[in-house]
Amino acid sequence: MDLFEYQGKEFFARYDMPISPGKIAFTVDEAVAAADELGTPVMVKAQVHTGGRGKAGGVKFAATIDDVREHAGNILGLDIKGHVVGRVWIEKASDIAEEYYASFTLDRSAKKHLGMLSKEGGVEIETVAEENPDAIAKIWVDPVAGLTEAETRAWVADAGLPDAAVEGSVAILQKLYTAYTDGDADLVEINPLILTPEGKVHVLDAKVTLDGNATFRHPDYEQFDATQTRDEREAAAHEKGLQYVGLEGSVGVIANGAGLAMSTVDVVNQVGGAPANFLDIGGGANADIMAGALEVINNDPAVKAIFINIFGGITRGEEVANGIIEAMGRVDIDSPIVIRLDGTNADEGRAILRPNLSDQLMMEDTMLDAARRAVELAG
């Protein structure tokens, strides 16, 4: 789950990290009221689940209330890499002496947590990594042992932060690690972490991704799930508990298992088609799940043909076949369906499907043939 900047800051504030006072606004009037209350100057910041806001004109300094009105008017509704800005964060402006970068994430190769700290903040860390990799101080933290203050201090020294920033940075980094582990985050990133002319270290931006698998420990994360960026199709599938990712093409894909679903998307592309989606209905394939999946696919106007790719493992072919037929009876499908059914009791399953075959329901023996047929039908 990706958090908006302001949600990330609220998340950090729970762990006692220093953030600037601010307010969220959905309209220009709300933005003006927020700035009035906070007192100018303020920053007007687009809240989107993507990077590069500044370059796209989504972050502006406002010295006066008139500036706030103008900037909020321009930013609300702005399209940043396909994300339309629906809310802006109005925050008390800070004076900046220096900008740093700090983050924690999981290093999958090392199987340890990875902390990155750099005195070259305020720019994309990927750019720093490419142009000046020595400017990033890395620390690997054993999840069992945790991160001690002495280790944090050595890490800050390694990054070469100036004396004035050391104490404040050590304190924030320790809290950031606690937020990362206690909060079950996949990523916590502060860019920039700033040093003010008064010598205070302060969190100026927040990028947080939380682990959706850990919500059982954090029931309040539901509020973050509710603000995820999903297109209409993804939202409908999410409600039915289906693993769905929207794509741009015309062949609707339904498969059982994430790997097979990915593979199905690949094969549709390989034979010259374009998949409309990735949809994993899980290991089984009963009528309820199949009907829900068909509904989601059918509601996508771009879909011109549907490819159902099922490999029966424990689930037997006849159960799958009966599920598909029952689901088709429940949902009015506009596009022709091509089925490939393989695995356990595939022959029995195919025998059940055969009398039901028509211009609307076709069957192929292999994944490749079924993909070719579906792509042909999609035009």
Binding site: L106, L247, G259, D266, G343, T344
Partner: protein, 294 residues
């Protein structure tokens, strides 16, 4: 021979009294797996389909001599279940459960490595392991696999593992062991662990490896293949056309920051000398060619 398990492996099912645990426990037993015990903190002394239930893994090990355990516990309890199994004295833990938090996985991976270096964990979020004709622990349908050899399979995906077993069975090719390592960010057993074991196993003559987008496990495996494998490898990577920034079902299957693409993985494997198919069928055909030339 097989790797990690064989016909003598005695297995405890943690969660045998639950619906998933009892269902797959029964299927595994029907397949011939030695399912010797279940565990439940308050149901000790009862039975599931004639299999005795003990209060915990330690007591089950003491009573049965089991060396492996299979976890069918819901995600919130997996961290405790893994540690209970290790402390209880089993050598091999298979965690089927999906949806385990990444921080839990990172924690028990490191905890096991430090305190129980001899214990092997497979999973979580994996289909399990099958040595056809000998032992089946987990949710793989046993009859889609042909026993014998000469091929070993290691895979990050569930249904693609079945697809791989099935492709080989259609071609009358046997499998020594098929290991599903799972699609999570911190798998207990890696591709390299399995490649190493297959390289050492005299009955395994070739290895089929199924990967997917996300992380760098396939690239690391390619390095290993290049430097240490004498046996031929065929491979398939799912997610060639996956869009960046989107999780494709599995928690670990995501292309982020330009890293973890299928293309990079396929190139790494090809340059390591593996034969890479563009879909599961092609990978199966490549394996058939490899086996014919053995």
């Amino acid at each position: 021979m097989s790797i990690f398990v064989d016909e003598n492996t005695k297995v405890i099912y943690q969660g045998l009294t639950g619906s998933q645990g009892s269902y797959y426990g029964r299927l595994n037993r029907e397949y011939g797996t030695q399912v010797v015990a279940g565990t439940h903190p308050t149901k000790a002394g009862t039975e599931v389909d004639g299999v005795p239930v003990y209060a915990n893994v330690g007591e089950a090990v003491a009573a049965t001599g089991a060396t492996a355990s299979c976890i069918f516990i819901p995600a919130p309890g997996v961290r405790a279940a893994v540690m209970e199994a290790a402390e209880g004295g089993v050598e091999f833990i298979v965690a089927i459960t999906e949806g385990v938090p990444a921080h839990d996985e990172a924690w028990f991976f490191n905890k096991l490595r430090a305190d129980f270096p001899a214990v092997r964990l497979l999973g979580p979020n994996c289909p399990g392991i099958i040595s056809p004709g000998k032992c089946n622990i987990g949710i793989t349908a046993g009859h889609i696999a042909k026993a014998g050899g000469p091929v070993g399979i290691v895979s990050r995906s569930g249904t693609l593992t079945y697809q791989a077993l099935y492709e080989l069975k259609q071609k009358d090719i046997g499998v020594t062991t098929c290991v599903g390592i799972g699609g999570d960010p911190v798998p207990g057993t890696s591709f390299i662990d399995c490649l190493e074991a297959f390289e050492a196993d005299p009955e395994t003559k070739a290895v089929m490896m199924i990967g997917e987008i996300g992380g760098s496990a396939e690239e690391e495996a390619a390095e290993y293949i290049k430097n240490h494998m004498t046996k031929p490898v065929s491979s398939y990577i799912a997610g060639v056309t996956a869009p960046p920034g989107k999780k494709m079902g599995h928690a670990g299957a995501i292309v982020s920051g330009g890293k973890g693409t299928a293309q990079a993985k396929m190139e790494a494997l090809e340059s390591a000398g593996a034969r890479v198919g563009h879909n599961p069928t092609e990978a199966g055909e490549l394996m058939a060619e490899i086996v014919a030339a053995l």
